[in-house]
């Protein structure tokens, strides 16, 4: 491992290889005793699992089609969407309009709700049959439940929660980049000798392509034999009653410990409303009991991708910042000029939020009023 820029090879070595890159005199080498397999050549095409909920496509599927299209174009291979469910009408066409060349559908009553046994059986069978080179799933609760089960059954590698995907030109390998250590480091992972190369991809990072109704593609039904595939039984389903939908918000005003209580958050809510946006928070206000956990952004909260994110009284720890990487513009208001949030912001205002925010509300309202006249 690398500590303070120095390579340390000790008992805790995970053979991550970071030391090899670092050594100036090539004194360190990694003996990876790689088992050569030429079987990888048989595998071709880029697959994405199109997650559905209540027979509707989840947004993450369209994002996967966006990045999948880019990868397939580089490799000059097909982009294939996989649909599993009990009623899939119209979904394959939608996937094609967003970039798929082909869509495989498995329709079965046992696939109505996500159940890891049945979904693993269906997806594994299709992969064994068709031999894709790359399989991508959303890093959603269900995607992160399904992918490891499938990868272990196929005995292949799986890279978790990727935020970057690319093709290594010399080898054709998928370069899978992901945060680890709570977002403190980034790692690029490859699966050189096993196929398919599997990855889960963090939602809200990849961009979906706009629908193009003129695109054409192939829709195929796979005859999956229903069987005793289920490993678990779903007894009931209960909505979490989300009051907020931060993932879809265009403008977010977020408050941290510096908001100093529910009244401070009320002030920020007012700014959010003025801007036509939504309120969010760091973990501190949730821990203080000022607001429900649904509003939390970060590693253990929501990952957001608004056009504008205004962080008020948030120090900007890494656990918070990993949630806002996808934001277009980040504004930070903090009275401590050394707060790390400023390094992650486009515009930083060093000052007291209780003085600045009320003025912002007044001035923005004034502009909005002028526009209406």
């Amino acid at each position: 491992m690398i500590i303070e820029g120095m390579a340390i090879v000790n008992e805790g070595c995970t053979a991550c290889g970071a030391c090899v890159d670092l050594c100036p005199v090539e004194a360190i080498s990694l003996d990876l005793d790689e088992i050569p397999t030429d079987e990888t050549d048989e595998y071709c095409d880029v697959w994405v699992w199109l997650e559905t909920r209540d027979n509707r496509l989840e947004g993450v599927g369209l994002e996967l089609l966006g990045i999948g299209r880019e990868l397939a174009d580089i490799k000059q291979e097909k982009l294939v969407g996989i649909l599993l469910g009990s009623k899939l009408e119209g979904l394959a066409e939608k996937a094609i309009s967003h970039g798929a060349d082909r869509v495989w559908c498995i329709t079965d009553p046992a696939l109505e709700h996500y159940e890891n046994g049945a979904y693993t059986a269906a997806l594994t069978e299709l992969i064994n049959q068709e031999k894709p080179a790359i399989v991508l799933l959303g890093a959603t609760p269900d995607g992160r439940d399904l992918a490891p089960r499938v990868a272990a059954r196929l005995q292949t590698g799986l890279t978790a929660d990727c935020t970057g995907l690319a093709i290594e030109l010399e080898t054709g390998n998928l370069l899978q980049t992901r945060p680890a250590f709570g977002g403190n480091i980034m790692a690029t992972i490859i699966t050189p000798h096993h196929r398919p190369q599997m990855a889960t991809v963090r939602p809200q990072i990849m961009k979906a392509r706009p629908a193009d109704a003129a695109r054409t593609g192939e829709i195929l039904d796979y005859p999956f034999e229903s069987g005793a595939w289920a490993l678990t039984r779903i007894l009931s389903q209960e909505d979490t009653q989300k009051q907020v939908n931060l993932e879809q918000a265009d403008i977010i005003v977020a408050g941290g410990r510096g908001a100093d209580g529910p009244e401070g958050l009320q002030l920020l809510q007012e700014l959010a409303t003025t801007l036509g946006g939504t309120l969010a928070v760091s973990r501190a206000p949730v821990e203080e009991g000022w607001i429900a956990p649904d509003y939390q952004v970060g590693q253990t909260g929501k990952t957001v991708a608004p056009r504008l994110y205004i962080a008020c009284g948030i120090s900007g720890t890494i656990q918070h910042l990993v949630g806002i990487q996808g934001a277009d513009i980040v504004v930070a208001i903090n009275r401590d000029p050394k707060a790390p949030i400023f390094q992650a912001a486009d515009y930083g205002l060093v000052g007291d939020l209780f003085e600045i925010v009320p003025l912002l509300i007044t001035k923005i309202r004034k502009i909005q009023k002028q526009r209406h006249q």
Binding site: P148, Q319, I356
Partner: protein, 260 residues
């Protein structure tokens, strides 16, 4: 009957800071701890043992220093501890890790229920639990925050994207535990004393029925090709001044960015 808890020793990543000068991780003096999620998994197992009987066995794969987190688990009340330690286990990705854990758990059979943390705070993959269940051919329920155990089955609540599922599975099974499930107990002084007296079982590859091509680096399909530090790609403009000046500047900027 055994309740198995898989625990991992991790660096306390919340203490890790980036040195803004060198842009490197500052890891000096960072303590090694039991993965926080695993404390919740252990607490869940301890409660079930107290309710239903049996014994709690904690298992970790790691270097010899990982014994520390086994001692912590014993101090919290675990009955026995197994350390899987062998230079050949090094460099394992999640597939090889779960394969090795599966071989150890087979040796500990019969087991009732296997507990993992939902994820480890260093590797952050949340893959070892479901992969372990697959190697053992058992059902799994991931991200559990409520659990009831009956004679032959469990009922658990798992949080999905926008709903909760109440899910049932036959025993034996595997669950991965979310941090909202419970409040882990603190080790008592008596527990610490007992932990120091309890022998720890150490197994190497020789003690397990395993294929040497499936463990450690050799058994790992994934390779870490490169590690780097996240770059904040934003060109920060910072302003100081009074509230009037600052708010004027921001309103003007937002208007220019067409955000008003």
């Amino acid at each position: 009957m055994r309740w198995i808890v898989c625990i991992k020793q991790v660096p306390d990543t919340t203490e890790i800071r980036i040195d803004s000068r060198t842009n490197n991780l500052v890891r000096e003096g960072i303590a090694s701890i039991m993965n926080p999620y695993d404390c919740h998994a252990l607490e869940a197992a301890l409660q079930l043992r107290d309710q239903h009987g049996g014994q709690v066995t904690v298992v970790t794969m790691g270097p010899s220093q990982a014994e520390e987190c086994l001692r912590d688990a014993l101090a919290m009340g675990a009955d026995e501890a197994v350390l899987l330690s062998d230079p050949a286990f090094r460099g394992a990705d999640t597939l090889a890790t779960s394969y090795t854990l599966a071989a150890a758990i087979r040796r500990l059979a019969p087991v009732q229920l296997i507990f993992c943390g939902k994820q480890a705070i260093d590797g952050d993959t949340a893959q070892v639990g479901p992969e372990l269940a697959e190697w053992l051919g058992l059902p799994h329920i991931a991200g559990v925050e409520y659990l009831v155990v009956k004679a032959n089955n469990i009922t658990a609540r798992r949080e999905a994207e926008s709903e909760y599922y109440l899910v049932e599975a036959n025993l034996p099974a595997l669950v991965t535990i979310s941090r909202t499930m419970n409040e882990p107990r603190l080790p008592s002084v008596w527990g610490r004393l007992r932990a120091n007296r309890t022998p720890i079982t150490v197994w190497t590859g020789e003690d397990l029925d395993i294929d040497p091509n499936r463990i450690g680096l050799a058994g790992s399909p994934t390779r870490v090709k490169r590690i780097f530090y996240p770059q904040h790609q934003r060109q920060t403009q910072i302003r100081q001044g009074n509230a009037e000046q600052l708010s004027n500047w921001l309103v003007k900027t937002l208007a220019e960015e067409r955000l008003l």
